[in-house]
Amino acid sequence: MSRKLTTRDETSLPNSGPLGQFNDQVASWTRRLVRPAGVHRGAGRMVVALLLAIALFTVLNPRVFLSPINLQNIAVAAPEIGIIAIAMMLVMLTGGIDLSLVAIANFSAITISTLHTAIAANDPDLANNLGIVIVLAGIAVGMLGGAFNGFLVSVVGITPILATLATMQIYNGMAIVWTGGSTLYGAPAVLGAIGQAAVANIPVLFVIFIITAVLVAVLVNRTALGRMIQLEGANPIAARYSAIPRRMVLMKTYTVGGLIAGLAGVLFLARNPTASADYGSSYVLLVIVIAVLGGTNPTGGFASVFGVVLATLTLQVVSSGFTAIRLSSYEYAIAQGVILIAVMIFDAVSSRRTKRPKKTNRAPRAGASTPQTALTRT
């Protein structure tokens, strides 16, 4: 953890003289080129896993698995899960977790559906014209939900897992009360059009997913806020002594997470013009699985958006591959759990192996772990 940071810091020290500066520039370019493949272990590993999964199911049942409809289905089903996983990754980057993301997404979808139905009852044309505004209102609701999470975590100081556990219950409960437990029908026509449309055979939903991923990647890797989020997650004590405004960073992270979840709610509706309080209840687990598979460190500090995108695709491929070879969704649930635990064990074993050469292994590790536990208690 600390090793990675120091090497990066050393190489980014400015050299004196114009030639030195040029040298630095070239070095940083090459590093940018090499980094995606080399540094992010999550991404590199997921490329292999994705190819393996595709190869496996192609061999087992090529006729069904490689059919255009199946591939189309993967590209349409992956975005909503992937976008929530990206939001989860962002929050995990600060060392937190957000269990309420799926509830927020449903809340946003319900808001859009209700607003549309209410306006359409008086004037259907007006409702379709206002489609964009209604969608933005839904996303704003998601953002508000995220901001409340951020308030509880940063200002009140509740542990993220408890705060979002509670808000998950609250948002979900409110959604149940609002819908009366039934499924709402109706969504702006714009969304239906987006859900059906495709650019060069690639569904627009998938394009939205990729755009979101790129935007979040830019936020994390190229902005000051992104760097502060990473540092806060990597070492909160060091972040505090570096005058990183913890409250502001957490507040913004959870708000952005809520915003992205709101967008996922829009995709729910675009795929299927229905909204209900308990849609995608299995996503809560799935999204954490995807984030961790994609190389996100659950204790914070390290993550790769590219890895999360690949992990989403891999799990979607496995899911549809299981259907192609006629395995049940319960067997898919087993596979999910086994993959998650296997990857975590693999990570734990490989990180232990890199630490082993030092004979005085115990002392530095112990020293590193005590301040962390001390911090989580304050």
């Binding site: 705060a163 556990l165 954490i288 319960y330």
Partner: protein, 348 residues
Amino acid sequence: MVLLRRFRGANNEGVLALVLLALIVAMSIANPTFFSLNTAFSILRSSIVPVIFALGVLIVVITGGIDVSFAAIAIFAGYSTVTFCLNAGFDPGLPGIFAIAIGVGAALGFINGIVIAQFSLPTLIVTLGTQGVFFGAMYTYVGASYYADLPRSMAALATSNLFDVTTDTGRAYLHVLVVPVLLLCLAVAWVLKRTMFGRSLYAIGGDIEAARRAGFQVKRTQISVYMLVGALAAIAGVIHIVLSRSANPRDLVGGELDIIAAVILGGALIFGGRGSVIGTVLGVLLVQVIKNSLLLVGVPSAWLRTAVGVLLVLGVGVQAIAAHRDSRRMRVIQDLDAEHKQEQKVGS
């Protein structure tokens, strides 16, 4: 003042008891039918399964972990035991049924424990994974059908009551299974307070590294903790099947977070090292009373989830703010002391 502090308890149990009492009084005033033996017994009956789950969660939370797979373990153990008995066509009697279920539950808990302890992985994520595995495995390998006929010994237990009181509002029954639950609570409280094993749980939850250096067998303890949770969950699973008089594989899973919320409300610290059986039982009772009273006041039961969520935010939020203030206050006292000394020096 001392008396007040003692009543408040180490984990705010007294405050919780007062809240519970206030709620009961308020409900009884709002709706006199609430205050009856009937309601009391039915609340007790509906708390039987949550209390056993909560004891298991409490033990894990004290060690600084969290377990979300207990509901999957419970239904796996209970359902597969019933399936086994029905398919084999013999009834091993209540002790036999509980023994089989506890064995299955402890074995599943052992899987959790060995993965968590051996590789020191985050408990939440491991148990999320195993939850999916256990649930999927039950459906794939044990079965997915609903059994309305239980083995005879279980069916007999379902209808046996401890008390059978006739009051003016009707007959009130107290189910006999309240007794073993009470014994279980006492046993867990005794283990936590009076045995080396119990104290080692608090030590690990307080600071795992300190516990290791003090000579506690951290890995072994962690594995036995998750086995114990599996065993408790299995008991709860069998009792749930007995009380609902049917074995439905879709039951229980999905309610994990409500139980965890009740345990946290009961004063257990999510980081570990704090928590008591009394607080946990009060937390579960509080949630059950709210569940019961919402209906009586005329609030739709759909609000229950929101109510539990709000309660959790309030409970944990107050704790967090208090902890924040405490840490600040300590610093101020130190500063004052330092200033005081400096003044003395200047004065002399």
